[in-house]
Amino acid sequence: MTEPCDERPQLDRIEEQFVAHLATHYVPKPMTPARRVAWEAALWARLEKPRRRIRLAPALITVMVAVVVTWLTWPRLFIPASSGRGEPHLSVTGTPNLGQWAYDLLYPHELTGAAERDESAILPDDYRMIAQVFLDR
């Protein structure tokens, strides 16, 4: 592999000695024969073991399909359960109406049937302006 045009860095005599010093002292001990045999046995055991490939894409697709099927099959899994004590039930599968949701959020007493109190006097001016514009009050 080494070709004639391959270069090695030019070192002066002191640098050469320094590098040689490191190369001499920074070297591992050779493996003992017993250790080498054990190491090679472990290597060939690993090489002969069939490789278990985890194919990521098929696994992800399977999981996604399972989630979608579960969602479609049992939609009630994703709906908050009612406590069964006559409280109004909010369904996320109902017809979405953002205006109604905002209204229910701002005036929950109407949703629960409680008597309405006029709280406009204690509300900030900008809140009242928003209520007038969006809720026509």
Binding site: M1, E7, P9, A23, R35, E40, L43, L47
Partner: protein, 183 residues
């Protein structure tokens, strides 16, 4: 420089036999390279080399002969050694955080362990590229071109790393420089 005997094997020889030959001819050098890159840890170097051989064996079908098989393999060794060092840093950080102490090193202390530890520490303080370039070229005797192929960097960049690494090491191990001057 890097042995090519196994690459130009006669046709018809079984892959496993060829790979056994390849392992036999490159095991010691790969272990020495890994040992120097991971900071002088025998067990770690053996693990790194074994992982590299396994990876090389399983990726043989993807070997495109753009470089020699040996260069390709040593590139895997360098990469595995880097991965090992990265995970060791993570393990040591977590160990220090949770237990307040560093894990016990499996390094075997023999010969001149103090000097070896100093050299290992000095190499650890280099950047990854400087350390790899220095070990490959100056300690393992790779040519600049071979080291560049192993590191996946241009030759000019490798030369620059070599120069900086040598300066840093001579500064860090200045007393060794003085010793060698006296020899």
């Amino acid at each position: 420089m890097i042995g090519e005997a196994v690459v130009r094997e006669p046709p018809g020889v079984e892959l496993e036999q060829r790979f056994r030959l390849f392992v036999a001819s490159h095991r010691e050098r790969a272990r020495r390279l890994a040992w120097r890159l991971v900071g002088g840890d025998d067990a770690a170097a053996e693990d790194v080399v074994q992982d590299a051989f396994v990876k090389a064996y399983r990726a043989l079908d993807r070997f495109r002969e753009e470089a020699s098989l040996a260069t390709w393999f040593y590139r895997i060794v360098v990469h595995q050694a880097h991965d090992y060092c990265r995970w060791r840093t993570v393990r040591e950080t977590w160990s220090a955080l949770w237990q307040g102490k560093l894990p016990h090193s499996t390094e075997q202390e023999a010969g001149d362990p103090l000097l070896r530890r100093r050299i290992a520490n000095a190499l650890t303080q280099l950047s990854r590229s400087q350390r790899e370039a220095f070990v490959l070229v100056h300690l393992e005797g790779f040519s600049v071109r071979e080291a560049a192929a192993c590191m996946g960097k241009p030759e000019g960049t490798v030369k620059s790393h070599l120069h900086r690494a040598l300066l840093a090491l001579r500064s860090e191990l200045a007393d060794l420089t003085a010793d060698t001057e006296g020899e």
